[in-house]
């Protein structure tokens, strides 16, 4: 008699009705292959359980007991999740906790432009549009996030397609302060959607190692928000990014 793998798993999980169960047992007695597969399913189950059962012997941390008993939050404040980790770890689970710690301030585009000399500025205003200029425009068109030099004056972050089907890219650039922004392709130009300044970045560039360097991102919140509002689907991977550049970021 032939049994599906799911039936054999169900046997190992004690989920079969008595009739099927007897049939499987009869087959086990004559077919060592069936017996072996069932043993395998049971062994995996046992191994998983043994691994995770260890936590049962630990006393639960006080913060969980407090949460269950309703000890007022003010007394638990030191344990509140976003504050618990002093050092956000790269790729750590609550990304939003990392974000909350990143203390970024958005700067309105107009203010940035006003404070900058026109010649060589990374952005220029044309016909009421704010467009990338100079090295920024060049980097947006030519640079790939996957191959860029770590000391490039402009660093490209993520590239993606917007909801309107245009390519958009985030960038950071080292000027007197570090600016970060999001630009989207508009015909042959890069329209700058957001440009903002990250005050923490000054300490980063000063001491190199960057005490406050955040997991994977020095993007101010306003830029991240703009990305979330603009993006359609997932960011481009390295291959798609190179393809898009090959098409000069055209549709």
């Amino acid at each position: 008699m032939k049994f599906s793998e799911e039936t054999l798993m169900a046997y190992a999980d004690n989920e079969l009705d008595s009739q099927t169960r007897s049939a499987v047992e009869a087959a086990m007695a004559t077919d060592p292959e069936i017996a072996r597969r069932i043993a395998q399913h049971k062994a995996l189950r046992g191994r998983l359980k043994a691994t995770f059962d260890e936590v049962l012997d630990e006393p639960p941390p006080q913060r969980l007991v407090d949460a269950a008993r309703g000890v007022p939050a003010v007394r638990r404040e030191g344990n509140v999740i976003p504050l618990r980790r002093k050092q956000p770890r790269r790729g750590a689970w609550p990304q939003w906790a990392t974000m909350a710690a990143s203390l970024v301030v958005g700067v309105i585009i107009g203010q940035v432009i006003l404070r900058m000399p026109t010649a060589g500025a990374p952005v220029a205003s044309r016909n009421g549009q704010v467009l990338a200029n100079g090295t920024l425009a060049q980097a947006l068109s030519d640079q790939l996030a996957s191959t860029q030099a770590s000391d490039a004056p402009v660093k490209i972050g993520v590239s993606f397609k917007s909801k309107t089907g245009d390519y958009c890219r985030t960038f950071t650039l080292q000027e007197s302060t570090t600016l970060a922004g999001l630009a989207c392709r508009d015909h042959n130009d890069w329209r700058v959607q957001v440009l903002a300044q990250n005050p923490k970045s000054e300490s980063n560039s000063a001491n190199g190692s960057g005490t406050y360097r955040q997991a994977g991102s020095e993007m101010p919140r306003s830029v991240l928000q703009a990305v979330e509002d603009t993006i359609s689907g997932d960011p481009l991977d390295a291959h798609a990014e190179a393809l898009a550049r090959g098409k000069h970021w055209g549709p």
């Binding site: 969980l64 008993r69 997932d234």
Partner: protein
């Protein structure tokens, strides 16, 4: 000892008489909640964060616990939903916020090139979310298929196929380190 005034004013939504009992039942459940959370989140602190979120959500919605439902199943469901919410947010955030990691890895979910000597925990993290939930509920927590399917809000057939796929994936990932299984 546990600031009864606060309890009364934050939990006026019902079940006053049994709220303190409920809290103690949840305390008793903490070891199991932590065990289930660890099948979902690899990092033990993250797992405990998840338990904390689930406990707080459960207490805020204690009126939704119907008398006939099992507290453990209800809590596992809340914990599972909290985890699914978090992974969705995290997945999106990671993709957007970790630009320098994008390079080669984006869209490459099958980075199973190094299969040797995986720990059980690491193998679990490579399972798709819902397979991990199924494995956690049935194989680790020992729930019946029916209970697990109810917690996940899916038909039993969906549960068993997730469980089967999760098992097969774990089996092949862990095969090298368990001669006995071959």
């Amino acid at each position: 000892m546990t600031a009864p005034d606060v309890i009364r004013c934050t939990d006026v939504r019902g079940m006053h008489a049994s709220l303190d009992q409920l809290r103690e039942q949840i305390v008793d459940l903490l070891p199991r909640l932590r065990r289930f959370a660890r099948t979902l989140a690899r990092d033990p602190h993250d797992a405990d964060d998840l338990v904390q979120i689930a406990v707080e959500r459960a207490l805020a919605r204690s009126e939704q616990l119907r008398p006939e439902s099992k507290l453990s199943s209800w809590m596992f469901g809340i914990l599972r939903n909290a985890w699914i919410d978090e992974t969705r947010t995290r997945g999106r955030r990671n993709r957007i916020f970790a630009p320098e990691e994008l390079g080669e890895n984006v869209g490459d979910a099958s980075s199973e090139s190094h299969v040797e000597a995986l720990s059980v925990q690491d193998a679990m993290t490579r399972l798709p979310d819902e397979q991990r939930v199924a494995v956690g509920l049935v194989l680790v927590e020992g729930l019946s298929y029916k209970e697990a399917a109810e917690i996940m809000g899916v038909p039993i057939g969906t549960l068993t196929s997730r469980l089967a796929r999760g098992r097969e994936a774990l089996q092949s990932m862990l095969a090298d380190t368990t001669g006995a299984m071959q």
